[in-house]
């Protein structure tokens, strides 16, 4: 299967700081998703982004498919941004392979 590597594994931020999370993948994909899992375990879909750039409020994501990586940007971080961020990819639509995640802690 496709290998997915996320970095850094852990990130501690002061409220208001900006950060970048990275996702590298080992093969071409036609599906790439970013998810956020809050401290209570609920997973939320953030972006569907197999290529290009998208923005949603303080979050944005960029995928450079030809170089097999994706970046998730968090700007002006808030304590509610804490949790685990997962990147997931698939060569053929549904069979997503997840990375191990980046654990983000935002301190007030």
């Amino acid at each position: 299967g496709i290998q997915v590597e996320q970095s850094p594994p852990d990130l501690i931020l002061q409220e208001g700081a900006n950060s970048t999370l990275r996702c590298n993948f080992s093969d071409s994909v036609n599906n790439l998703q970013w998810f956020h899992q809050n401290p209570w375990g609920q997973l939320i879909n953030l972006f569907y982004i197999p290529s290009g750039t998208k923005q949603n409020g303080r979050l944005s994501a960029t995928t450079v498919a030809t170089e097999r990586y994706s970046l998730l940007y968090i700007s002006s971080s808030q304590t509610t941004d804490s949790g685990v961020y997962f990147c997931a990819v698939a060569r053929y639509d549904y069979k997503l392979s997840f990375g191990a995640g980046t654990t983000v802690t935002v301190r007030a």
């Binding site: 299967g1 375990g41 997973l43 569907y48 997931a88 639509d93 549904y94 997503l96």
Partner: protein, 113 residues
């Protein structure tokens, strides 16, 4: 508010028991998924169903089976529970469009003793 509901938040079962994990969605989604989540491994796909009575194996189907008799319900079955199946189990659904987001349930933490 649309929802994916998993029947139990916490479950403790004995080794060798047959275990049923239930998942119900109210969004008329075609696709449903079962994942397990373990520390450091992310989520791994156990089984996938793209429509009623249709199923496909994911990456780690051994020791599991599934049932989807109705569109809204997708059940994961552990035929004979073992301690290495202690994990967090997550159900998800979506419509059959790649760009459409996944909706996850809140998870079932299963402990097999």
């Amino acid at each position: 508010d649309v929802k994916v509901t998993q029947s139990s938040r916490y479950l403790v079962k004995r080794t060798g028991e047959k275990v049923f994990l239930e998942c119900v969605q109210d969004m008329d989604h075609e696709n449903m998924f079962w994942y397990r989540q373990d520390p450091g491994l992310g989520l791994r796909l156990i089984y996938f169903s793209y429509d009623v009575k249709m199923k496909e194996k994911g990456d780690i189907p051994e020791g599991y089976s599934v049932s989807r008799e109705k569109k809204e319900r997708f059940s994961l079955i552990l035929e004979s529970a073992s301690t290495n199946q202690t994990s967090m189990y997550l159900c998800a659904s979506r419509i059959q469009v790649p760009s459409y987001g996944y909706t996850f349930g809140s998870g079932t933490r299963l402990t097999v003793v």
